[in-house]
């Protein structure tokens, strides 16, 4: 039995398989990122990096809720200059596609962090827009204008492809996707975490230091899937060539296939690393292959967007 071809291409960057490591999970050092790649990921996304170092919130920063996680880490990271060393180390040891996740509180910060990460040698950037705009209570990704400005600012300064990661904490995610596309993003990833809360009833108080946090993992999968489908329908309607990367609760091959059928060209896995261990990447690619063999598909392209027609009807 021939193995189906799981390789994909996003904005001209080739990946050996469509199952990538999501931002924020383990991606702090070269050895950890290499370990994830060796475990079978098609590519890796780093921890979200800012211009200057951040300690993040003091613990408690995570809480398990069913199969999901609410996290309020507070975007801790060593800052771009320090993190460059890890990227350079990784590039020396492997040829794995590295996507640098970046964030900032202003256009200027986004721009400068983007330039820094590009010079470090990442193959692509993923813009984490789930951070507050410094002059507003809104997250950058909750406002189409902020989104447009940030994506445009980065687009003007870097040559490598840009993925814009969207937050689901909006009324209409398509409106935000539209802004990112108009500003020149090469791809879109959806979704970031869903704003959530855990109350410790023994104390009658929120448990996380930051009070609210972001829910990730299997509980958000149906929401993530719906967002990917909505964005994919919009992209299809306008004939845009904008690949979508699905993220949110993907745990196994069936989940990944749902996302491909909803219009995603690739998926990211994060929380499932806790649920299934680091072999989750290899497991998911094998499960995808099994499905494809059973159904007679030989390439991922054959599945992408398969369910969209039925959604339009």
């Amino acid at each position: 039995m021939n193995q189906p071809d799981l390789s994909i291409e996003i904005a001209k960057v080739k990946f050996r398989n469509p199952v990538l490591l999501a931002a924020g999970i383990l991606g702090l050092t070269a050895p950890l990122l290499k370990r994830v790649f060796d475990a079978g990921a098609g590519g890796v996304i780093t921890k979200s990096i800012s211009l200057t170092p951040r300690s993040g919130h003091s613990p408690p920063v995570i809480v398990e809720v069913g199969k999901g996680l609410i996290n309020a880490m507070g975007l801790p990271n060593p800052g771009c200059e320090a993190f460059k060393t890890q990227i350079q180390k990784l590039k020396k040891e492997t040829n794995i596609p590295i996507i640098g996740s970046i964030f900032g509180f202003t256009e200027e910060e986004f721009k400068n962090t983007a330039i820094c990460m590009e010079s470090a040698g990442v193959d692509m950037l993923e813009l984490n827009l789930s951070c507050p705009n410094v002059n507003s209570k809104k997250l950058i990704g909750q406002d189409p204008n902020f989104t447009f400005q940030v994506v445009k600012a980065v687009r003007e300064k870097v040559n490598i492809p840009i993925i814009t990661k969207l937050t689901p904490n909006v009324t209409d995610i398509v409106e935000i996707a539209k802004a990112a596309i108009e500003a020149g993003t090469d791809a879109i990833s959806a979704i970031n975490t869903v704003k959530a809360l855990y109350i410790d009833i023994e104390r009658g108080a929120p448990y996380l230091t930051n009070k609210f946090g972001g829910l990730s993992g299997p509980p958000i999968k149906p929401i993530a899937l719906r967002c990917v489908a909505e964005i994919a329908l919009y992209v299809k309607k306008h004939n845009y060539k904008i690949p979508i990367i699905g993220v949110g609760g993907i745990e196994n091959g069936n989940d990944a296939i749902e996302f491909f059928m909803a219009g995603a060209s690739a998926v990211q896995v994060g929380t499932a690393v806790i649920l299934r261990g680091l072999s989750v990447f290899k497991n998911i690619t094998e499960e995808i292959s099994t499905f494809m063999n059973r159904k007679g598909y030989t390439q991922i392209n054959e599945i992408i967007g398969l369910a969209l027609e039925k959604l339009i009807e």
Binding site: G24, I25, L26, G27, L28, T29, P31, L32, K34, R35, K47, P53, R54, S55, G56, S58, P59, P60, V61, I62, V63, E64, V65, L69, N71, M73, P76, N77, P78, G79, A82, T85, Q86, D200, E202, R203, A205, Y207, T209, G270, T271, V273, I274
Partner: protein
């Protein structure tokens, strides 16, 4: 499975100046936990005005499966551990866990348990938990500390009739000198050991791993890194490609020999890759909470 268990303090023991052991009622955890594992301790009572609740990682110093209780041994160093020290029997601490890879059962008979300072904490759990070694196992405990009043658990071990060798840097108790040198001298005097179990400052562990390698003795060591999530997802506790909160804190000597970060490098609170000295000896670090 309950993520966070508010556990009642049922016993408090003053071990040394500024160091107390707290026994907590935690039935489920007591059944599951293995020596070498740790818990995340959520402290929200006895806080100073404007002090926020905080969660800190602590090794288990005791596991009592019959009573359904576990213990942590806490040195008062900063605001959070100070708050813990104000707790009385009947007060509560939030516990989640147990986490990490604990000690594995020891194959041989003659076991050297070597502890420096508060490194004795997980070692006490190992010693008291005879599931990990054979009935005719002979344990010799090497206890080291800078000075007499920083020695831990000696009275307890003495009462149990466990063979003990004490060393203090200033000579205020036991042999004057470094516990690793004392152990090395024993090896040079032709004492044979089947396994070494250790915990303490990383330079101490590094020396022991080198000695173990030279004398071909298997060694299990409990390491420490900056822990944030405790469940293997954030990467802050990384040592090379391994996570102290999942693949550790207990590592075998064979593994440690391959890790270039061992004895040298760690990540700080921001996740920046720095020398161990910078991360653990700065005034603001995970050990001074």
């Amino acid at each position: 499975m309950c993520f966070l268990k508010h556990s009642k303090i049922v016993n408090i023991i003053q071990e040394a100046e500024g160091i107390k052991t707290f026994w907590l009622e935690c039935r489920e955890l007591a059944q599951k936990a293995i020596p070498g594992q740790f818990v995340m301790v959520y402290v929200y009572d006895h806080l100073a005005p404007n002090q926020k609740p905080e969660e800190v990682p602590m090794s288990l110093s005791g596991i009592n499966r019959q009573e359904g209780s576990i213990s942590i041994t806490v040195a008062e160093r900063g605001p959070t551990t100070k708050a813990i020290h104000q707790h009385k029997c009947g007060d509560y601490l939030g516990i989640r866990g147990p986490y990490g890879h604990g000690f594995e059962p020891v194959q041989g008979k003659k076991i050297a348990v070597i502890g420096g300072g508060v490194g004795m904490t997980p070692l006490l759990a190992f010693i008291e938990n005879s599931e990990l070694y054979s009935n005719d196992g002979e344990i010799t405990v090497f206890v080291g500390a800078p000075t007499k009043n920083r020695l831990l658990f000696c009275n307890q071990l003495e009462k149990k009739g466990i063979s003990m060798i004490i060393a203090t840097e200033d000579g205020s108790a036991g042999i004057q000198g470094n516990i690793v040198d004392v152990f090395l001298n024993k090896l040079r005097e032709n004492e044979k050991y089947d396994e070494i179990i250790t915990c303490g400052p990383e330079p101490m562990i590094k020396k022991l791993v080198e000695i173990a390698d030279k004398y071909e003795i298997p060694i299990q060591a409990s390491l420490e890194r900056w822990i944030k999530c405790g469940i293997g997802i954030c990467g802050h506790c990384a040592i090379n490609g391994l996570r102290v909160c999942v693949e550790g804190p207990v590592f075998k000597g064979e593994t440690l020999k391959q890790l270039s970060d061992f004895g040298g490098f760690a990540l700080d609170e921001t996740g920046a890759y720095k020398s161990i000295h910078e991360v653990f000896n700065s005034s603001k670090n995970n050990k001074n909470k």
